[in-house]
């Protein structure tokens, strides 16, 4: 990779940066007509050519795709370095380079092939169940990430940085599980109450930093991080209490959620995909509607973009902050509740929500804080996780590599100028590429 001078380096293009400022937070739809208007003034190019040009121009989709490619390249290098046998072949690289190249190719291709087979489709599958299995796994991992991603994205559009999706998810999973094994309710109603309890748990945990921000100006980043700690230790404490802990166990695990409170499965056993993914699609639609088509969304976006102007126009900024955090918390809580109401687990353990809250931040960023973008990003992350499991067991590549890949993708996305420079993309759409992270801090 040669380092050419970057024409699109952000500090050399004040004009495009200014443009970026307004497009960064989801106004790209509006910027689009303006930027596509220019080429039509010249001779009209054919549709196909226009398509190709736009594909190679540095638009959001291309950059996301190329970030993925770059992350996989770096991931491949890491795999090679971390495998002692393959690395040993490099010792005599100059004498017999084919050894090293063959070994590297074999390792990397096997790993990525398994990543694909584990998440999308396994060509070797003979039964319908086996063919559906990768997709089912991907959807299982995707569902909670959609919720936590939406939680972070919604708060971000309202100008708040919700680092607390993790804690909100934990409070969500706690309440959902308690309702799940403590309340004897008829099937159907039991599930509904458990799901709502999850939302309430997250909402309460979101309300606290929201009200603190609104009333005292305390920064939500600090408070949500602190509440994450409180939530995780509360969970650890709660699990071993009488009535909560599984009476047959001595380790930290709670009783199992009743079958009547579990989300129905989409396919037959052993496929794990459950109705959570349907809820996730509904939630995405709901958040999209809320943001773009509701008066509350208008207030939220106005407050997020310019709280002073919003206040001057009579919008209550404090009320909006509280509402944003309550909604964001409820979404994260719903995501958390799926960790026990779905098929991932049926009982509380200290690590029951895994990292879904923190992954939600990455998902929101990758999805450029737009609801459907978040859903797509969650799908990608879900696929990486599902594929990573297979990659670990079939290709002996540790699961942590998936985490590294996720991190690399986000880093490349967060630095579009880097991707542009590496692939020499046309700078025409530079404005659309600025990171969505630039705001909020």
């Amino acid at each position: 990779m040669t380092t050419h001078p970057q024409p699109g380096s952000p500090d050399k293009e004040p004009a495009s940066e200014e443009q970026a400022a307004r497009t960064a937070l989801g106004n790209t739809e509006r910027a689009e007509p303006a930027s596509t208007a220019t080429p039509t003034q010249e001779r009209r190019p054919t549709l196909g050519r226009l398509f190709l040009e736009n594909l190679w121009a540095a638009n959001t989709f291309t950059v996301t795709l190329l970030s993925l490619v770059l992350a996989m390249v770096v991931g491949a290098v890491l795999m090679i370095i971390s495998d002692p046998k393959v690395l040993a072949t490099y010792a005599y690289f100059t004498a017999r380079p084919t050894d090293a190249l063959d070994a590297s190719w074999a390792l990397v291709s096997k790993a990525y092939a398994n990543l694909f087979k584990g998440s999308v489709f396994d060509p070797g599958a003979t039964t319908l169940t086996a063919a559906l299995s990768p997709i089912s796994e991907t959807l299982t991992y995707t569902a909670p990430l959609v919720f936590t991603g939406l939680s972070v994205a919604l708060a971000f559009r309202g100008g708040l940085f919700n680092i607390g999706a993790q804690g909100q998810a934990i409070m969500g999973v706690i309440l959902a599980a308690l309702v799940g094994f403590l309340l004897p309710l008829p099937p159907g109603l039991h599930l509904l109450v458990a799901v709502l309890a999850g939302a309430v748990g997250g909402a309460v945990w979101g309300f606290i930093p929201g009200i603190l921000k609104a009333r005292t100006g305390a920064h939500e980043v600090i408070n949500t991080i602190m509440l994450n700690y409180i939530a995780v230790y509360f969970l650890t404490w709660l699990i071993v209490q009488n009535g909560v802990q599984d009476p047959r166990r001595t380790d930290a695990i709670s009783r199992r959620v009743d079958a009547s409170a579990q989300l129905p499965r989409l396919f037959d056993d052993p496929l794990r995909a459950h109705a959570g993914i349907i809820l996730a699609v509904l939630a995405t639609w709901a958040v999209a509607w809320l943001l773009n088509r509701s008066t509350l969304g208008f207030e939220l976006r106005a407050v997020g973009a310019n709280p002073d102007a919003a206040r001057t126009a009579g919008i209550s900024v404090t009320r909006t902050y509280v509402l944003i955090m309550v909604f964001a918390g409820a979404l994260a809580g719903l995501g958390g509740s799926q960790m026990v109401l779905g098929t991932t687990a049926a009982a509380l353990t200290p690590l029951v929500v895994a990292q879904i809250g923190f992954d939600g931040i990455l998902v929101a960023l990758l999805g450029r804080v737009k609801p459907w973008g978040v859903a797509m990003a969650a799908l990608l992350f879900g696929a990486l996780q599902a594929g990573g499991n297979r990659m670990q067991s079939y290709a002996s590549i540790s699961l942590e590599l998936v985490t590294v890949l996720q991190a690399l993708i986000v880093i490349f996305i967060a630095a579009p100028a880097l991707v542009k420079a590496i692939f020499q993309l046309r700078a025409a759409r530079a404005a659309r590429l600025q990171t969505s992270l630039a705001k909020g801090w």
Binding site: N27, T295, F298, T312, G314
Partner: protein
């Protein structure tokens, strides 16, 4: 440019003045054409090249670190060090330099004052000192008077004259005709990125304005005599604090009647902003009462005040008036988005918003590529028209406009003024706050002069400018108070500023 010349660059907002100067200062690269210095073509890659070529610039928004002293700010970017590799900052030498430059050009800047304690006018002189210590021959002043009080402006002009006498050349960017005529040796008028003419300062204001906007403009506001009706807004004994808990409004009594324009004149920072914000429910009222058509409105939320029929144009449009990322259409409903026909219950009606936006854009002559364009892409004048359009498109009892034409080009000023007068003529009570004396005199039927949180006089629009100017400086005709005028009227120099703030 000749040595020792003051060359004014005149043009509407968005005409390309600032862009041109940014190219000269090396911030932007020219697409075509070249820059000649002393006959030699010059390629500028950045501000440091420009400084090396003897070009200095004072930006419209100052580039100073507020918590640093004057000396430290001047040193910044050209730090002189002693002690070899240890690199101690040579503050003493820098301080001496600042003192010397300030002395030589009579800039009266205290090298040890901290920037944030200094009035704007002095901060500007610090910027000038900064440029001068870098040995520049050509100084670019980008709209230097936009933030200054009339007295500070007068001082700046004096400074410019002394710089000129010392052989420095100055490019003076502005859209204020009076200043140009007062100081410039040569005037270049720019319109839409092209030079449209060169004029001498002897040209009349009307000629210059016509060159600037490309047609003849009326600078005075045409209006019939007011027919005041019932009092709409009554303020009595109002006391309001500013952010720092300092008393900003100290017992103000005001009455605005239906069908009249009350203008509030005064040097900025004398409580006008706080007064208006208190009326709008944006700032708590500590004492006194505000009534709208007889009903007390203190303690009301901003939304309630707006809904009661008050229109409000805030003084800082980019901070308080508009959401720049939002489209023109969305900004046009920023305060009525939840009212029919734009919102019903929880849902927003985008069709209604777009439709109404098209009408407003037409009616208020907002120049935009489309109703969906982000409002931040519009020029200052058009942004202001968006706010005015928003506020005037619902039935009002009271219309409050703070600095309605600040940073707005001549063409838009004319339009906005006519809209204000029209609003008055249909029986709305109008309150205009402006630090442009011409604007207040042109628009108002009565002028209240505000000084240090008080209304120190209410006069008619025919009062001579000088008399109002004296009132703005805190001098009432019947009592001569040199002590007060000393502290406030001219921008006080470094040390003097402290007791003014206290």
């Amino acid at each position: 440019m000749e040595p020792g010349e003051i060359h004014a660059l005149l043009g509407e907002n968005g005409a390309g003045k600032s862009t041109l100067m940014n190219v000269l200062y090396g911030l932007y690269q020219p697409d075509e054409g070249e820059i000649l210095v002393d006959g030699k073509p010059l390629k500028l890659r950045g501000p440091s090249d420009a400084i090396a070529a003897g070009i200095g610039m004072v930006h419209q928004h100052f580039m100073l670190v507020p918590v640093f002293t004057v000396t430290e700010n001047v040193m910044l970017g050209a730090e002189q060090v002693r002690g070899g590799i240890a690199g101690f900052l040579d503050r003493r030498r820098a301080r001496r330099e600042v003192a010397e430059v300030s002395q030589r050009y009579n800039l009266r800047v205290d090298p040890d004052a901290v920037i944030e304690d200094l009035p704007v006018g002095v901060q500007q002189r610090v910027e000038i000192v900064k440029a001068l210590t870098r040995d520049v021959d050509l100084l670019i002043l980008d709209e230097p008077t936009a933030v200054l009080t009339p007295q500070e402006t007068e001082e700046l002009l004096t400074v410019m004259r002394s710089l000129k006498a010392a052989g420095k050349s100055i490019v003076f960017i502005t859209h204020k005709l009076g200043e140009v005529k007062a100081i410039a040796d040569r005037i270049t008028v720019i319109r839409r990125g092209k030079t449209v003419g060169t004029a001498s300062p002897e040209a009349s204001r009307d000629e210059l304005a016509a060159l600037m906007v490309g047609r003849t403009v009326r600078l005075t506001v045409d209006k019939a005599p007011a027919t005041p009706g019932e009092p709409v807004l009554e303020v009595s004994g109002l006391v309001v604090d500013d952010e720092r808990q300092c008393r900003a409004v100290d017992g103000v009594d005001l009455t605005v009647r239906a069908g009249e324009v009350l203008g509030i004149a005064g040097v900025q920072g004398n409580g006008q902003t706080e007064l208006i914000e208190a009326i709008m429910g944006l700032r708590p009222v500590l004492a006194g009462t505000i009534t709208l058509e007889g009903r007390s409105i203190d303690g009301w939320s901003t939304k309630k005040v707006l809904r009661a029929g008050v229109g409000y144009v805030p003084e800082d449009r980019s901070v308080d008036g508009l959401v720049k990322e939002f489209s023109v259409a969305e900004n046009l409903v920023l305060d009525i988005y939840d009212r029919p026909p734009f919102g019903r219950g929880l849902s927003l009606r985008p069709d209604a918003i777009t439709k109404s936006a098209a009408e407003r854009i037409e009616q208020f002559d907002v120049r935009t590529s489309s109703a969906q364009a982000p409002v931040g892409t519009l020029s200052g004048g058009n942004q202001q028209k968006v706010i005015v359009a928003r506020e005037l498109s619902r039935p009002l009892k009271l219309f409050i406009a703070a600095q309605p034409t600040r940073g707005v080009d001549v063409g838009s000023i004319e339009f906005i003024h006519s809209q204000v007068v029209h609003e008055r003529d249909i029986g709305t009570a109008v309150l205009v706050v402006s630090s442009e004396l011409d604007e207040v005199i042109g628009l108002a039927d009565r002028i209240a002069v505000m000084y240090r949180g008080r209304i120190i006089g209410i006069v008619g629009p025919d009062t001579p400018r000088e008399e109002i100017g004296l009132l703005m400086a805190g001098i009432t005709p019947d009592r001569d108070a040199p002590a007060t005028s000393d502290g406030e009227a001219p921008a006080p120099e470094g040390p003097g500023s402290e007791d003014e703030k206290a």
